[in-house]
């Protein structure tokens, strides 16, 4: 099996006018370590400099937390490193049962269940790709699978939620994945479906089963379980925020 | 060990102290004004001077009884006793666990009585005497039950308000000096609570009898400004 190496970079940068204090953050922006993805180097830097706490969440994701309490008008977190990948496939003999049940964002109705009539992940993905048109700003973070189905538009997150809802309606365990994709300047979302032995990756936004070119940060039942970046600060301020990502394949 | 209190709690203790003292002194001064009215011909407006000192807007066409009613019970008159007791309550209610239910109860009693007297449009201020009694009982209860930094903050609030009201009502230098002296003791024990510059500014006037003239508005303006910036909560 081919082993490919990727350089990844994830930067989130915020500016505040006037400055804020008591800034708390929680990140899921380190590549996961799993059967098809192995970290060769990884570093995360925060500026202004502060202590980073590494832990896991209830889904097994790596979480990086911290806080900075002095007034500041600039905040930047950078995660970068090198990952070695084999073809996308994560063996798991006892996948959690909660990936079978709806959440607020992934509830389904009869129409969505209809998309899953074949009971096959690949077909479901294909049906959703055909149904939806990619469009920014038509949806937001609270858009549910049922909403997406009825407006027929959305971004990768909405594609993923709809596919998850359809898979679960057919009794397939499905989970939401956050990460980076080759050629994408921002984070990407896709779906993993359990086939009885292992999790396989599907990208309904691009209508493809995943083999290479995707670096996984975190997974959960839906996006609310595993956002790559959340922050909270105190103070009345105008925040400008930008996230930039890069994933490049190393040529041998 | 002394219980640590948060910045918000400190602020609430300070203001509870201020409002409790303001309520007490207001009633005291109103009783004095009420007594003076007895000797004034009907139609003159003896409360106007009193109300002006409280910083309130005084309409010339108000009768003295109307002025009295507004000063006691009117929610729209900022300096009214009603508002003082409401602000006392706002602070006391979040401080129950520090000041104890027994102290809290005295404020509750004040509020209930004022509500009753307001409903019956009570004009005889001596009927509000229980409020004065309960406010004194409140301070007694505080002294029995509250210690350390929490006690200091209540007491600092009380002294700051005491100074403020004494200046508004042209009390003599020795009265200012007494309260200022007490306040300075807290400046020793709770150094970080106080603004040194403002303390110096107040001290300039309060230091000697010669430097403080209770009738010079500019002095009092300077001192009030210093007083309001003195405590950092």
């Amino acid at each position: 099996m081919d082993l490919l190496k990727y350089n990844y970079q994830y930067i989130t940068e915020s500016s505040f006018v006037p400055p804020v204090e008591h800034h708390f953050f929680k990140m899921r922006a380190l590549p996961m370590e799993n059967a098809c993805q192995h970290i060769l180097t990884a570093e995360m830097t925060v500026s202004p400099q502060c202590q980073l706490n590494h832990s896991k969440d209830g889904f097994g994701n790596s979480v990086q937390c911290g806080s900075f309490s002095e007034p500041h008008n600039h905040f930047r977190i950078e995660s970068r490193g090198v990952v070695e990948c084999s073809a996308y496939c994560i063996p798991d003999a006892s996948p959690k049962d909660f990936y079978l049940y709806p959440t607020r964002l992934t509830e389904w109705n009869k129409d969505i269940a209809q998309l899953a009539s074949s009971g096959n992940a690949h077909d479901i993905m294909h049906a959703i790709y055909g149904l939806l048109t990619y469009e920014r700003f038509a949806t937001d973070n609270s858009t549910t699978a049922i909403d997406t189905f009825s407006i027929r538009k959305g971004v990768c997150q909405d594609y993923a939620h709809l596919m998850i809802a359809a898979c679960r309606s057919a009794g397939l365990k499905a989970r939401y994945v956050n990460g980076l994709m080759l050629g994408e300047g921002e984070t990407h979302a896709w779906v993993e479906v359990h086939d009885g032995e292992k999790w396989l990756g599907y990208d309904p936004t691009h209508d493809c089963q995943i083999d290479y070119g995707y670096i996984k940060f975190a997974h959960g039942r839906d996006v609310a379980d595993c956002p790559s970046n959340r922050g909270r600060f105190y103070g009345w301020t105008m925040e400008t925020m930008a996230v930039t990502c890069k994933l490049i394949k190393q040529e041998n | 060990m002394d219980k640590v209190i948060s910045a918000n709690t400190a602020n609430q203790l300070f203001w509870l102290g201020r409002y409790a003292e303001r309520g007490y002194l207001m009633l005291h001064l109103m009783r004095r004004a009420y007594d003076e009215v007895i000797d004034v011909p009907v139609g003159e407006k003896p409360y106007s001077d009193f109300l002006e000192k409280l910083g309130g807007y005084v309409a010339n066409n108000m009768t003295s009884s109307y002025q009295m009613m507004a000063q006691l019970y009117d929610p729209n008159t900022v300096s009214s006793l009603y508002n003082i007791i409401e602000r006392m309550m706002d602070n006391a209610i979040v401080l129950r666990s520090i000041i104890c239910s027994e102290s809290f109860a005295y404020i509750e009693l004040c509020r209930d009585l004022l509500k009753q007297k307001s409903a019956s449009k009570e004009m005889n201020i001596t009927e509000l005497q229980p409020i004065t009694d309960w406010l004194l009982a409140f301070w007694g209860s505080i002294r029995e039950r509250v210690y350390g930094q929490s006690y200091a903050l209540l007491e600092v609030g009380r002294l700051v308000e005491h100074l403020d009201m004494n200046m508004r009502f042209e009390y003599k230098h020795y009265r200012i000096d007494e309260a200022w002296d007490m306040l300075k003791r807290y400046m020793q024990s709770e150094q970080d609570l106080f603004d040194r510059v403002q303390a110096g500014r107040f001290e300039m006037y309060a230091a000697t009898q010669e430097a403080y003239d209770e009738n010079i508005k500019e002095h009092k303006f300077e001192m009030t400004a210093a007083l309001n910036g003195l405590v950092k909560v």
Binding site: Q51, S55, K56, S67, R230 | A7, A10, D192
Partner: protein, 460 residues
């Protein structure tokens, strides 16, 4: 001297109860005056405006004889032990689900299940530190469990303060009757908090703030336990440890948080991102085990109206004992047999929405028109997991003194408080709530009812 006092007490016991009631009723004005003095209130929002009301107190106490209470106590301890074991199991190995005792659906579809809590072991393995178990007594004398409240059960402060006040108003009543003192609730809480804290820092009670409906209780319990009352913003997490911030920005370590903020608002970085009531990154400190959170997060999975059905089964499963206390007869449309029974008997049953609380989402079949009954049937057919049905229990009435000053019967329930620290103990009192109207079965304070003191009689 002691001998003669005991003798006196015993001779008056025979008719003591009747006498005391009259005496207490006679001094109810005094009682109410004292209640007002202490500011015993609860907040209600009406049309978006916050108002505080006195919680109406009825002077006639509910009395529970010593032997009856002894049985209740054993039953409650047993139930809460099983619930704690269930919570541990659900967030770890899930044996009870694997063994088919509780269906998967009732676990993972429950609103109260939080996968974020998977694998977390709370301090000392305790989940439900403070359990509020609602019971009713049927006319035949049996006590039945109506509901378990394992998240933020409230109400203990009211009987505590009622007792303080009634003892002042009618000392003779308490001399004549042997009643367990209930004013030890603060001590019980404190003992439990200290055990969970384990000397790591201070105890705090975290309140959502002044305008929470139960704020009186938060501040009162802080006073009675000696814990620091913390408001949103007072607590911060630094490097995985929770601190209370002092006036000079000094940081005091917190070892146990009795939080009165619900799970979804507790950490804006883990749950509801817009919450202003929470402590950012509290979840990380909790997971790392540096602080005890009382009650644990994720308890909602065990007090769901759907999971209620399975609690007696949990008692057998985890403790290998027969349940001492029974549920009110309950049917789950999820099971075919129950489903058929419900559809055929719906006019006799009470239907409850599992997702609702506080007396909402409760429908009595006998009060519904045939059209409405059909509608409800269809709702059940459409989403069987969302509903439970119960037999209408004919529970006993207790007299209250109504507005006219006359005794009048009301439906009453009892919320028993069960505290788990080192051991599981039942508070020897409870909150007896009564309905506002004579014909109403709904006893929630948010729906306008009142409360009584609960006397647990002492054997000796």
């Amino acid at each position: 001297m002691i001998m003669s006092t005991e003798l006196d007490t015993n001779t008056t016991m025979s008719n003591g109860a009747a006498m005391s009631e009259t005496d207490l009723v006679d001094c109810r004005d005094t009682v109410n005056k004292w209640m007002e003095r202490y500011g015993v209130r609860f907040g209600v929002y009406k049309n978006g405006v916050f108002n505080e009301q006195l919680f109406p107190f009825d002077a006639i106490p509910r009395q529970i004889p010593a032997d009856e209470w002894e049985m209740l106590e054993r039953g409650l301890v047993q139930r809460v032990k099983a619930l704690n074991m269930f919570l541990y199991d659900i967030y770890h190995d899930k044996k009870i689900v694997q063994d088919g005792v509780v269906p998967k659906e009732f676990t993972y579809e429950s609103k109260g299940y939080m996968p974020e809590c998977e694998g977390i072991t709370p301090s000392k393995d305790v989940y439900a530190h403070i359990a509020g178990i609602d019971l009713v007594q049927a006319k035949d004398g049996r006590w039945l469990i109506l509901e378990d409240n394992l998240r933020i059960p409230s109400g203990a402060s009211y009987p505590m303060i009622a007792r303080t006040v009634t003892r002042k108003a009618s000392p003779q009543t308490f001399r004549d009757n042997l009643i367990h003192d209930n004013r030890n609730y603060g001590e019980m809480l404190r003992e439990m908090m200290d055990y969970i804290n384990d000397g790591r820092g201070i105890n705090v009670i975290l309140t959502p703030g002044r305008y929470n409906s139960a704020f009186f209780e938060h501040s009162f319990l802080a006073e009675k336990t000696g814990a620091t009352l913390a408001f949103p913003g007072d607590l911060i997490v630094d490097n995985g440890i929770v601190y209370y911030t002092g006036i000079y920005k000094e940081k005091v370590r917190v070892g146990a948080i009795y939080r009165r903020v619900s799970d979804e608002y507790l950490d804006p970085l883990a749950f509801e991102p817009t919450s202003l009531l929470g402590v950012p990154n509290l979840m990380e400190a909790y997971r790392a085990g540096t602080v005890g959170v009382i009650n644990a997060l994720g308890n909602g999975v065990a007090d769901d109206k759907g999971i209620y059905y399975f609690v007696p089964k949990m008692v057998k499963y985890y403790l290998n004992e027969e349940p001492i206390l029974q549920n009110a007869p309950t049917y789950l449309p999820f099971f075919e047999e129950d489903f058929n029974y419900i559809i055929n008997n719906i006019d006799k049953l009470v239907i409850k929405d599992v997702a609702e609380a506080g007396g909402y989402g409760v429908m009595f079949g006998r009060d519904m028109t045939p059209e409405r009954l059909e509608e409800v049937k269809n709702l059940i057919i459409k989403d069987p997991r969302r509903w439970i049905a119960q037999e209408v229990v004919d529970f006993i009435d207790l007299d209250i003194i109504d507005e006219t000053g006359k005794p009048s019967p009301r439906k009453c329930d009892l919320r028993a408080f069960v505290i788990t620290g080192k051991e599981t103990k039942v508070w020897r009192s409870g909150l007896t709530r009564f309905s506002r109207n004579p014909n109403s079965f709904v006893v929630n304070s948010s729906q306008g009812g009142g409360f009584k003191d609960t006397w647990v009689m002492d054997k000796n």
